[in-house]
Symmetry: C2
Amino acid sequence: MTSVDVPAREGRGVRVAAGQRFRVVDVEGGQVADTFAFRADDVGEYHSAEHTRAYVSRLFPRPGEPFVTNRRRPILWLESDDSPGVHDMLCAACDPERYTGLGVEGWHASCQENLRRAMAELGFDRVDVPQPINLFMNIPVRAGGELGWEPAPTRAGDSVTLRAETDCVVVVSACPQDIVPINNGNPTPIAIELL
Amino acid sequence: MTSVDVPAREGRGVRVAAGQRFRVVDVEGGQVADTFAFRADDVGEYHSAEHTRAYVSRLFPRPGEPFVTNRRRPILWLESDDSPGVHDMLCAACDPERYTGLGVEGWHASCQENLRRAMAELGFDRVDVPQPINLFMNIPVRAGGELGWEPAPTRAGDSVTLRAETDCVVVVSACPQDIVPINNGNPTPIAIELL
């Protein structure tokens, strides 16, 4: 088994073959993993949250259900969930504008920059920034549609196992958000285990 | 006042100046209006549902709140809502793949095609297809995150009034969906009133 360490506040990309399974592990617990998937043969086709919600008629797929692309074709399957099962697919990746809006002055790491750097390292210099699959992220939908921003409830070693439908490029960003409490105020690493 | 008719199953685009208000009217009632907004000076910046949800911490803005772009800048403001207040911002625009998946053989009108045609008529030949603001669309979020596909509850003449933050191009598609019941099985026209 190959394991790729995603250091705290950084991102890493891996190529995953059609049919291959991989596990996204919250190494220390309480950490959000922004996860992106692009078709290897056309990175203009990628996982799309708004198409997946319509496809599965749910805010987030259940184990056994797919994540689909902007062409409504499965790209990943949620095989199993060994975590509290709390994930988000409503919120954009954090980006420089997000941190400016939260009062940060100067540079702050972001999932958007982590995605772009990881894709560039794999040879893809220009990619769209899709809405991520925010594994372990705790955004409750309250009465009247209000969203909460709550700490990730995961414990060390919790994981989600996914299977690729087609050859794809997967990027995981260990979210550097340390202003709102989604990472318990302490961004920590993630691991990608290729099974 | 200029009024632009959007025939049933079709789309129309209008230029809206910074500060200008416009009303989207459900002419006959029970009809979904897929609404898109692009900055006139850079159509690569456009309304983004996933950024708006994070910005307002809600599934859909309330009157007085903005819709923001993929750069987290306000582009439209929800001024007032003279409808039952039921709108969706979870689901992708319908597209050829959606209708194929629903069992339709051959061509079917779609909000994606309506958007592209309306933008091309205004001189924008290549644009992204953002997730729309689905005015009057009734997608309840049920227990466990399950989504419903319910008929639009609007009556004839119900409307939403929006104000542009910046010069922008707005496209409204009178959604041609007639397989799932969101348009009460009978797609009808929309009107855009420039105030």
